[in-house]
Each structure stands twice: as structure tokens, then as C-alpha cells.
């Protein structure tokens, strides 16, 4: 049932960033993610797709060390980041290793200004010069944010908040960025915009990105690989191109 995509690894040109091995996670007696296995390569965008309640957010929470804050736990399996086991580490420990999440609901510091949100994003970046480089890179990627800097984050529009949330996460210069539903509440035009930024991000910096997305056709335009979940299980793990051109298969994994 699980189709693996080994092409990139066999090519030998791409290195593996994250390895998820038979991962199960859930909340109390509900198992929301069941025995999921996949890999993420450096410089790839992975689309994590599946219907509502499939376990996409739960998987990202498990990968980012925030699942416990939501009352959940990893029940089985391993997660390796650069071959180092990370399952069970707290989110702040994972940030130090270069992994962070843009969570669903964005979770900005709403009482702080946009500027302060970006500064908090770089909280762990002690080197002033590096901080400045990261800060400028975020503002170059999201020029829309620059004029908003004195405003309270809570007062921004949905699209602006989404950009700020991604910008804040980029302040640590992550090697793996997880983004949960960037399109939520966005107009289609803004959605294209945010996806374009994510694609730029991957092109300019060689980082891994995992995007959870309901707009499958949109996300397939920028994705390199796909993990599709269905009732917590991996229904498809493989190449995005294969799925992009195969509507019948797409229907099969998504319905």
C-alpha cells in the first residue's frame, strides 16, 4: 500500500534531511497518525495532503515537538533529523537543531508588534550580525511586512498574519520548515502569492519545507514530493510529478 519514492536518494545528488519511520501518534485513545513512514530531502518541498481529520496537523505537531502542548503523544516510531533521533524532544530543543513549525492558527504574539514578533523569531540567534542577515532576508522575501512593523500583530489581515508567521519562523534560518495550511482564510490571489514565496524560499536557500494544504492542485504546482494521509495512514508517498499528471490516481488517494 505504501509506495516509496527512492528516486532522489538513488540519484545520490540529494541528501536526506528527515527520516520518519513507522511513526504513530495520537491523543489519549485516539490514534491520529498510524505507522507513517517517509523521507524528506534537502531542498525539497513536500506537500502533506489528505482530507479533514486525516492527521496532517497531528503529524506536523509530532515532528515539531509541540504535540504534548496539545495533549497528544508520539506512541511509536522514530524521527531522524540529519540521522539524529529527535522524537520526544521539545519544540525549543528542535529549534536549536534548525526545525520549526508555522502552526495552524498561526499563533503570532498578538500583543506584540510585527517588529517584535520578528525579533522574537530570532530570539535564539545570539550573533547580532547573523540576526541582521536573517532579518533582512525575511524582509526581502516579504516586503509587504516592512511597512507594518510598528503595528500590533493581532491587527493584521489574515494574509499579512500568514506572511508574518512564516517570516517569524524564518528568523532562525531553519533547515526544515513545517507549515500548516498557509492558505487558511486566504483569498485565492493571496494564496498564489504565499505559495510563490514558499517556492522562492526553497530556490534561494537550500532548505526542506513541508506544507500541509487542502488546495491540492495548487500545492502540487510547487511540491517536489507528496505524502498523502487518509484516516491517519499514509495512502501515498512519492513523487509530486506522478500525481500532478495522473488525475485518476489523485482522486484515489484523496477521496
Amino acid at each position: 500500500m505504501i509506495q516509496r519514492c527512492w528516486t532522489h536518494i538513488s540519484e545520490g545528488s540529494v541528501t536526506m534531511l528527515l527520516k520518519v519511520n513507522s511513526l504513530s501518534a495520537g491523543y489519549g485513545h485516539t490514534e491520529a497518525v498510524k505507522d507513517v513512514t517517509f523521507n524528506i530531502d534537502v531542498g525539497h518541498i513536500t506537500a502533506l495532503i489528505g482530507p479533514n481529520g486525516a492527521g496532517k496537523s497531528t503529524l506536523l505537531k509530532a515532528l515539531s515537538g509541540t504535540l504534548e502542548s496539545y495533549g497528544g503523544t508520539i506512541t511509536r516510531g522514530d524521527i531522524l533529523l540529519d540521522e539524529e533521533p529527535i522524537a520526544g524532544l521539545r519544540a525549543d530543543q528542535l529549534v536549536a537543531k534548525g526545525l520549526t513549525l508555522v502552526p495552524d492558527g498561526r499563533r503570532l504574539f498578538t500583543h506584540m508588534t510585527v517588529q517584535e514578533n520578528l525579533e522574537m523569531g530570532g530570539f535564539t540567534v545570539r550573533d547580532k550580525e547573523l540576526f541582521g542577515i536573517n532579518f533582512n532576508r525575511v524582509l526581502t522575501l516579504f516586503p509587504e511586512i516592512a511597512p507594518l512593523r510598528p503595528r500590533k500583530a493581532g491587527s493584521l489581515s489574515g494574509g499579512e498574519q500568514q506572511m508574518l508567521a512564516i517570516g517569524r519562523a524564518l528568523m532562525i534560518n531553519p533547515k526544515l520548515l513545517l507549515i500548516d495550511e498557509p492558505s487558511l482564510g486566504l483569498a485565492p490571489r493571496l494564496l498564489d502569492n504565499v505559495f510563490e514565496k514558499i517556492a522562492n524560499l526553497r530556490n534561494e536557500q537550500i532548505i526542506g519545507v513541508v506544507v500541509v494544504e487542502q488546495n491540492v492542485h495548487e500545492v502540487l504546482k510547487i511540491a517536489d514530493s507528496v505524502v498523502a494521509l487518509k484516516l491517519g495512514e499514509a495512502a501515498y508517498v512519492g513523487n509530486a510529478a506522478d500525481l500532478r499528471n495522473d488525475d485518476a490516481k489523485l482522486k484515489e488517494v484523496f477521496l
Binding site: V95, P103, R107, F109, T110, H111, M120, F123, M171
Partner: protein, 292 residues
């Protein structure tokens, strides 16, 4: 007479302000009413008294040890009572009840160990007072005012300018978001408890210098501290300072010509007036009561 009452009000207000600052720092971070904060006020006073009475330690040394002990006690309360409850996702009402329980336990332990009689931190006659606009103010009282103001400024600087202060603000705003930018939220909470409880410890020693040491002394301190924090705007350090001074002033000047038994009633009246007409407090923080 009125100047003397004002001076008395400022002195009392300073101790309320210190308790309120500690309370507000802790509340701002964990968002529940840490009532046992009052017990820490009393523990610090007793610790200082015990070190001086039993070991003959000089005041300054006893005071420093007591303040550190107060901070440590706050951290222990968090670590062994609040943190397990937080991890079990207990509602803040449960945390409040646990806090009441700890307050009573500590108060009873103090009573059991030291007895319920009144102790004095400073033996001997009251020191000579200085004259100030017709009022008398003692050197001890000047110390109380000076240390309160210095500590308020220091705490404010600490919270506004240091990384630790920023992490407290971040955890207060959104704990998950704070962890996703790399902040260890449990450690931040521990530090907030240490800082807040040390401030309560200073207040306990100042109260002890000015009046007496007795097991229930923490009750008045924490109630006035909470009122001051609410009036100032919960979560605001300048608010806690102003709120404390306002309450101290109101209850001392307010009893001019009537029995001093009305002090508490006046404090509550001021609180009610604020809750009705300016529920966010002087500094109108958005950490309103509904978020308790």
C-alpha cells in the same frame, strides 16, 4: 496630620507595591492567581528573624539569605505543585485552589514551628525620626521607600531589556509560539517564580521591619498586593507600583478622623470602583480578569 498620614500611606504602599510586582510578574507568565505568594512574604520575614535571633546574624546578611530563600520557595511551589497540574491541563480554578491550600499549609507550619506570638525583627527603641513637611519619617522608612523604587526600576529594566524579560512576555502571550521560537517555557516560568517570589521576600522583610512578624502576616500582604496589581493593570510593573502606592495612600488618608479598622474596606472600595469604571486598571492592560 494629613502629611503624616500620607507618609504612612507611602510606606505601606511601597510594601504593597513590591508584593504586587511579584504577583503581577507571576500572573503575567502563568495566568492564574498565585495566592500562596502571601505565604512567601511571611516565610521571608520568619527566615530573617530566625537567622538573626538564633544565629545572631547581622541584618543585611539575614535579609539577603531570606530573599534568596523566598525566591527558591516560589520555584519549588511551581516545580512540585503547579507544574504537574499544568501538565495535566488543570483549569486555573484548580491551580487557585492548590494555591490556597499551600498558603494555609505554610501558614500553619510557621505557626507550629515559631508559635503564634508576635516577633520583632528590630529590637530596641524605634529609631529617631527625620522631620519632613511636619511629618516624621524614620530612617527605616526611608530605606523602605528607596529599596522599593530601586527594585521597581530594576524589575522593569529586567523585563523590558533582557532576553529573560522578552521570553516572559512571549510565554505570557502564547506558550506554544514561544516554544517554536526556541524558548524553554518551563524554565522561563521557573525564573518568573524566582523573581516574583524574591520581590515578595523583600516585602516581607520590610513589613517585618516596620511592624511585626506573625504567622498570618502574609494574608494582608497578598490581598493588598492583588488589589494593587488589579488597580495598576494586571501584568504591568509600573501599574503594580502605582497601584500599591494608591492603595497605601487611600487606606491611610481615608481613615482620617475615623477608626483605622476601615482601612481594608477602603481598599476594597477602591478596587470595586476600578473594576466598575476601569476594569483594565490604570495602565489598562489587556490581561483582563476574564483571562484568569
Amino acid at each position: 496630620m494629613i502629611t503624616q498620614l500620607t507618609v504612612n500611606g507611602i510606606i505601606a504602599g511601597c510594601t504593597y507595591a513590591l508584593v504586587a510586582m511579584g504577583f503581577t510578574i507571576i500572573y503575567g507568565t502563568v495566568r492564574f492567581f498565585h495566592f500562596a505568594h502571601g505565604a512567601i512574604v511571611a516565610v521571608a520575614a520568619y527566615t530573617a528573624w530566625a537567622f538573626m535571633a538564633y544565629l545572631g546574624m547581622p541584618f543585611a546578611m539575614a535579609a539577603i539569605i531570606s530573599v534568596v530563600a523566598a525566591g527558591g520557595l516560589g520555584v519549588l511551589m511551581d516545580r512540585f505543585v503547579y507544574r504537574p497540574l499544568r501538565q495535566r491541563k488543570s483549569p486555573s480554578l484548580i491551580l487557585l485552589l492548590a494555591s490556597f491550600g499551600m498558603f494555609l499549609v505554610v501558614q500553619n507550619i510557621l505557626q507550629f514551628v515559631f508559635g503564634s506570638d508576635i516577633k520583632m525583627l528590630r529590637g530596641g527603641a524605634a529609631s529617631e525620626g527625620h522631620r519632613l513637611f511636619g511629618a516624621v519619617i524614620t530612617s527605616t522608612q526611608l530605606w523602605i521607600v528607596a529599596s522599593s523604587v530601586i527594585l521597581a526600576v530594576a524589575a522593569l529594566w529586567f523585563l523590558r531589556k533582557t532576553g529573560f524579560g522578552k521570553s516572559i512576555r512571549a510565554v505570557a502571550d502564547d506558550q506554544v509560539a514561544a516554544s517554536l521560537v526556541g524558548i524553554n517555557s518551563e524554565r522561563t516560568v521557573s525564573m518568573a517564580f524566582f523573581l516574583g517570589s524574591a520581590l515578595a521576600g523583600v516585602a516581607g522583610i520590610l513589613v517585618a521591619l516596620e511592624s511585626n512578624v506573625y504567622p498570618a502576616m502574609g494574608l494582608n500582604a497578598v490581598i493588598k498586593g492583588i488589589i494593587a496589581a488589579l488597580i495598576g493593570g494586571m501584568g504591568s510593573i509600573p501599574g503594580a507600583l502605582l497601584g500599591g502606592l494608591l492603595i497605601g495612600f487611600a487606606e491611610n488618608v481615608g481613615v482620617w478622623g475615623i477608626s483605622s479598622g476601615w482601612k481594608d474596606a477602603i481598599s476594597y472600595a477602591v478596587l470595586v470602583a476600578f473594576l466598575l469604571f476601569r476594569p483594565g486598571g490604570i495602565f489598562h492592560t489587556d490581561l483582563e480578569l476574564r483571562k484568569v
